[in-house]
């Protein structure tokens, strides 16, 4: 737990001296003085922007004309703080990325908190600061929010829901059902980092390593790709839960095409690979939080790859496969041995194994 998160209580003017009760109480969700305290002294200073400061029931803003993309996600990760990030960064970047891979420019986010009675304020402050930093980095604003509190024992400390909205670029039309035969499949970097970072601190399975979550906002990198090759991009996705394998399977099904990848081209950090070996996990099923896959028309693939590699978040970008008319709705990988294996969609969570 980072210790730069202790809120500054000196300006809090609540009759209940909260500095003496540094945890969440039921009243914080009540919409009264305690709730307002949180907004005035924690959320507002962190997320500072005009739309939020109006504190209306709804945020009011202009976004321009055209098609909008909107996405929402809830974040329930345990533990809340892990190597490379926290639930805060995830909550912002996750939704930013979902909007960005739809071909839209993410602009505004909402943030709703469900807090457990007894949750330390210092941890909440750390999470909120992380969100503020992530939002600033991504160039988005958190313009509206909500807080509810549940009784002790009825929550995991802190759950966050974010929703995000953005304007879709003119002329861009991407979707999981738009992949075409002949498209090249690119991945923006190494896979498995986030999931194994979480595993490294999970009770019963923990291990020491330098593995850090890859949690990052991808809208800047994606904008670069769209700038360069725009309409040649048919599909974009960020492979979160279920990993690369699940995302590629979803696209294969949605577009009714087959995908072939070369295992030797899929990049995995050696430590992530080692951790997967230790627990008997396959990196293609492990979650990512800062990677994107692209299905791009073949003649634009090289340029897209170059653009990706020029971006700090895309240095390890690689061409991993192609879309084929063969074996529709199936993902087939060529192994190091030169043989083929089908990579099926994951059923439920991938579990560590001993056999």
């Amino acid at each position: 737990m980072p210790d730069n998160g202790t809120p500054d209580f000196s300006n809090w003017i609540c009759p209940l001296p909260l500095r003496d009760y540094p945890t969440i109480v039921m009243g914080h969700g009540g919409g009264g003085k305690l709730g307002n305290e949180l907004v005035e002294h924690l959320f507002l200073p962190a997320f500072r922007n005009p739309a939020l400061e109006n504190l209306g029931d709804a945020a009011v803003f202009e976004i321009g004309s055209g098609r909008l993309a909107m996405s929402t996600d809830s974040f329930v990760v345990q533990p809340l703080f892990f190597p490379g990030g926290s639930i805060g960064e995830l909550a912002v970047n996750g939704t930013v990325n979902d909007v960005a891979v739809s071909g839209a420019d993410p602009k505004y986010l909402s943030a709703s908190f469900i807090l457990e009675e007894g949750f330390p304020l210092a941890q909440l402050a750390a999470v909120v600061n992380a969100m503020a930093e992530a939002a600033a980095k991504a160039g988005v604003r958190i313009v509206t929010g909500d807080t509810k509190v549940v009784e002790r024992g009825h929550g995991d400390g802190c759950y966050i829901n974010t929703a995000g909205v953005g304007l879709i670029r003119q002329g861009i039309s991407v979707g999981p059902n738009r992949a075409q035969v002949g498209d090249v499949v690119l991945v923006s970097g190494t896979i498995g980092d986030h999931g194994m970072a979480i595993m490294s601190v999970r009770e019963g399975l923990e291990f020491e390593s330098q593995i850090r979550s890859d949690c990052a906002a991808l809208n800047g990198m994606i904008a670069d790709v769209l700038d360069a090759v725009g309409t040649s991009v048919h599909t974009m996705r960020d492979p979160t839960r279920g990993g690369l394998a699940s995302t590629l399977n979803e696209i294969a099904t949605a577009s009714n095409i087959g995908i072939e990848i070369d295992e030797s081209k899929v990049r995995v950090r050696s430590e992530v690979q080692s951790a997967c070996e230790l627990l008997g996990l396959d990196p293609v099923y492990v979650a990512n939080e800062g990677k994107a896959v692209f299905f791009i028309a073949a003649d634009a693939a090289d340029r897209a790859l170059k653009v990706l590699r020029n971006h700090p978040l895309g240095r390890d970008a690689a061409r991993i496969g192609v879309v084929t008319a063969q074996h529709p709705r199936m993902l087939v990988a060529r192994t190091q041995m030169g043989s083929n294996r089908v990579i099926a969609t994951q059923i439920g969570e991938q579990l560590p194994r001993i056999c």
Partner: protein
């Protein structure tokens, strides 16, 4: 990782496969006993690299698959109790009992935890003196030393809230049972390398002699598997039947004496029922009198379990190598990883799951027309 990645080199694998093509002149059926080897063979497509006449038959070396249904039902009953922390390897979480699996028990409020090592379970017992911590000790000889140590430590530390639900099975009796079966077609065995790292391979020469079969102690990485297969084929071609060690960097003739010493202190041989196969005499280990107090079956005395196997499930035939998973009528229809009828479809090293997940139910034509275009 050193001493791992080198044994996955694709180009060397191609050349080793070529060697097998050179030496094989007739069809041969070879069984790999260990589920971990099955998983590696299917996942890496080792079977695809072999000459068509060489057939790998997948053996019952999946301890998850062979754990008796009655014991799984007992595990579920114990895990459902409110005062219990039930610890298990991840492999067991989705194995179906008669009505549910451990995952579902967890969903209903049972405290079911996945751990990496039985020592983690012992630590939980120390941390939670008010709870009964039960560890699901499933496995072949490879895992037995870990389980033995955990219960040995629990005894030494005087822990009264730790117990072991044991289902250990042994490889040599399984080989004997398979070879003695009238329908047996297996002509050579790849013995499980990590089992032998513990037990050595002194138990195998009598089997090789009795049944006139080559037995090659084999590892798990592609190069190790190809080497084991190659050696088996060479023996078969020459009409030889002796025991070879193709995993010398890990396995010695005598095995790990320290481990064997503790195993003898903690366990005793017993008859065991192998799910899908039946009772194989003297084929398993249970806690002996010195450690009976730590036996979860004794401590919890679960009664009134009504077990019922799916009538459609043919795990037993698969485990004995009598049929391939795709030959089971329920395969990929009523029985899939999402809705498994038996353990071989649930366990990550179960032959049925491996076949399903790696696409072995596709016909050769379908796979051939898949044709991989290299990503440059």
């Amino acid at each position: 990782m050193k001493y791992l990645n080198e044994f996955r080199n694709g180009e060397i694998a191609q050349r080793m496969a070529r060697e097998i093509w050179q030496v094989a002149t007739r069809p041969w059926k070879i069984m790999e006993v260990c589920g971990g080897q099955t998983h590696s063979i299917i996942r890496n497509g080792i079977d695809q690299m072999l000459p068509p006449g060489i057939e790998m038959i997948h053996g019952p070396g999946c301890p998850v698959c062979v754990t008796p249904l009655a014991l799984i039902d007992k595990a579920l009953a114990i895990a459902a109790q409110p005062s219990v922390i039930f610890c298990s390897f991840g492999d067991m979480l989705r194995v179906p009992g008669t009505d549910a699996d451990l995952f579902q028990i967890k969903g209903r409020g049972g405290d079911v935890r996945v751990v990496y090592s039985p020592l983690d379970a012992v630590e939980l017992a120390v941390k939670h003196p008010d709870k009964q911590v039960v560890f699901f000790g499933v496995g072949f000889e490879t895992t037995a030393p870990a389980n033995a140590m955990s219960v040995h430590l629990a005894k030494r530390r005087g822990l009264e809230n730790f117990s072991l639900l044991v289902s250990h099975v042994l490889v040599p009796p399984a080989i004997e049972a398979i070879m003695s079966s009238p329908e047996n077609q297996v002509q050579a065995f790849l013995a499980a390398g990590h089992v032998c790292s513990v037990m050595g391979f002194w138990e195998y020469p009598p089997l090789a002699d009795q049944f006139q079969i080559p037995i090659v102690v084999t590892g798990f990485e592609p190069l190790d598997l190809l080497d084991g297969i190659r050696r088996a084929v060479i023996q078969l071609e020459k009409g030889e039947h002796h025991v070879e060690n193709a995993y010398e960097r890990i396995v010695t003739y005598a095995g790990n004496l320290e481990a064997q010493r503790l195993l003898a202190e903690v366990f005793e041989i017993t008859d065991r029922s192998w799910r899908g196969i039946g009772v194989i005499p003297r084929s398993g280990w249970r806690l002996n009198d010195n450690y009976r107090d730590f036996d979860a079956e004794e401590r919890f005395q679960i009664r009134g379990i009504h077990t019922e196997e799916s009538p459609l499930c043919k795990s037993g035939d698969v485990l004995r190598g009598a049929i391939k998973p795709a030959e089971c009528p329920a395969f990929a229809k009523q029985c899939t990883p999402r809705h498994p009828l038996g353990a071989t479809m649930v366990s990550s090293e179960g032959a049925c799951a491996a076949y399903f997940n790696y696409g072995r139910f596709l016909s050769a034509d379908e796979l051939a027309s898949a044709g991989v275009a290299h990503a440059r």
